[in-house]
Amino acid sequence: MSSLTDLANILPGNAVQPRNHPLETRWGRGLLGALVPLVLLVLWQAATAFGWVSTSQLPTPESVFSAAVQLLEGGTLAQHIAISTQRVLIGFAIGAILGLVVGALVGLSELADALLGPFIGAIRAVPSLAWVPLLILWLKIGEDSKVTLIVIGAFFPVFTTVYLALRHVDKNLIEAARAFGLKGTRLLTTIQLPAVVPAVFSGLRLALAQSWLFLVAAELIASSMGLGFLLMDSQNNGRIDRLFLAIILLALLGKITDALLGFAERKAIKRWA
């Protein structure tokens, strides 16, 4: 059988990837990814230094930096960041868990699908910001209403991906497992759950992005702290440097949380796909 063994070694899955292309090394990719932001930073600096754009429209990079330092020293920046991050994490966690549970229920059970499917579809059709007045009426302008809005934002991407992924699990695999006596929970944990892991992670990443979106929406509408509030407040006071600061911070926080999730995703996909 050595001929077969040799065969296995030249199969694509086993082939040794050439690793010298810049796109395939971690450093190469990191450098390339940093290129566009760096170019933008240089352009930004040039635009303000040479007066291409008025500083009332575009603050200088230094002024944004000093706005950051100033707010940091006053201690408010850390507070804004902390409260926003906290809202996103709590809302995302609750929304994602609900999305997983309800998505699994509706995806696995025909009864639950018939019962809940149309209702959830109708709720999803409501543009999520339409909930804001109702949330404020019911939950007042406190943490609850903001976190609830984020929960709604995080729920649907997770629910939809889990539901659809469970519906599309390879019927042949399920049948094979049934033929070997698997049913109920064992079937679920052996076939269905592993099969949907990659889809679940893309749902989670969408949900995380939605959570930041809904955070800013909630904070713009009614808040006294947080990055959305900083945006609103800076606009009202004409502090364009702080406005830029808030946007850059949102970009950074969004990217960092997404990267963490992406890291978990790669681990999971390596294990399950």
Binding site: L4, A8, E175, R178, A179, V197, W272, A273
Partner: protein, 274 residues
């Protein structure tokens, strides 16, 4: 062997699961679709397969060979008639059977070894289970590849994994749906020999579907040819042939040559050209 525990009906006949069981087809028919869409695929299949026998099923593509196997495994129920295993009716997925499907159907996220272990009957102890899996992997010559994922192995290796998974069950009835379909001619011959070795080491009733007449002649005690009579929509038993001689058979014997021509003719192939 506790595979019978979840089916109390069978505990009465406390046969060890690895002894061969008879299979009886009793007026088995299957149609798909309702109303105008209704299409009869199989009708009036009556046959007794003896314990330990190797029955090879031949027939043109789409005539219902896989459907017939699915009725035995309990994955599908016939529209008419019944299938009995060892005298008891098949009702739902039957733990006395093991299937190797037409496609390997391996779990992509598990190693070859774990995929084979999936076939172990429930309640097999960890120690016994891993010993049996290791033995089977050696048997199908995959022991050097036990850690690989299905996407990292060739089509033929995947089919051997699928065969090992079915054998892990030590079934009373082994259902093989074109198990060697994806293999090259040489590996195919090796796998046929392997199957015969396994069959003598662990006697079991085998129902094997193939398109390959030579494979049928080499492996079968009897060959069942499924086919449609002219003007009929559904296929049924068109011939049953006992293959003479003991295995391994001489592939070039004259008697087998004649059977080969006759089988090809009943499959609608002009054997003079082959």
């Amino acid at each position: 062997m506790t595979s019978t525990l979840d089916r109390p009906a069978f505990t009465a006949s406390t046969k060890p699961a690895n002894s061969s069981l008879s299979v009886t087809f009793f007026g088995v028919g299957r149609s798909f679709g309702t109303g105008k869409e209704n299409r009869q695929v199989l009708r009036d299949v009556d046959l007794v397969v003896n314990p330990g026998e190797v029955l090879v099923i031949l027939g043109p593509s789409g005539c219902g060979k896989s459907t017939l196997l699915r009725a035995v495994s309990g994955l599908d129920a016939p529209s008419t008639g019944r299938v009995l295993i060892d005298g008891t009716a098949v009702d739902g997925v039957d733990p006395r059977c093991a299937v190797a499907f037409q496609e390997p159907r391996l779990l992509p996220w598990q190693s070859v070894e774990r995929n084979v272990a999936l076939g172990l009957p429930q309640g097999t102890s960890v120690k016994e289970g891993s010993a049996r899996v290791a033995e089977l992997l050696r048997l199908v010559e995959l022991d050097g590849h036990s850690g690989l994922r299905p996407r990292e192995i060739s089509g033929g290796m995947a089919q051997r994994t699928s065969l090992a998974r079915a054998l892990a069950r030590r079934p009373g009835v082994l259902l093989l749906d074109e198990p060697f379909g994806a293999l090259d001619a040489l590996t195919r011959l090796k796998m046929q020999d392997l199957l015969l070795d396994i069959h003598s080491a662990y006697p079991t009733t085998v129902l094997l579907v193939t398109h390959d007449v030579d494979e049928a002649l080499q492996l079968a005690d009897r060959i069942l040819v499924l086919g449609r009579e002219s003007g009929e929509e559904a296929a049924t038993v068109s011939r049953i042939l006992a293959v003479p001689g003991t295995r391994p058979r001489n592939r070039n014997s004259e008697e087998l040559g004649q059977m080969r021509s006759s089988l090809l003719a009943s499959l609608g192939v002009d054997s003079g050209r082959h």
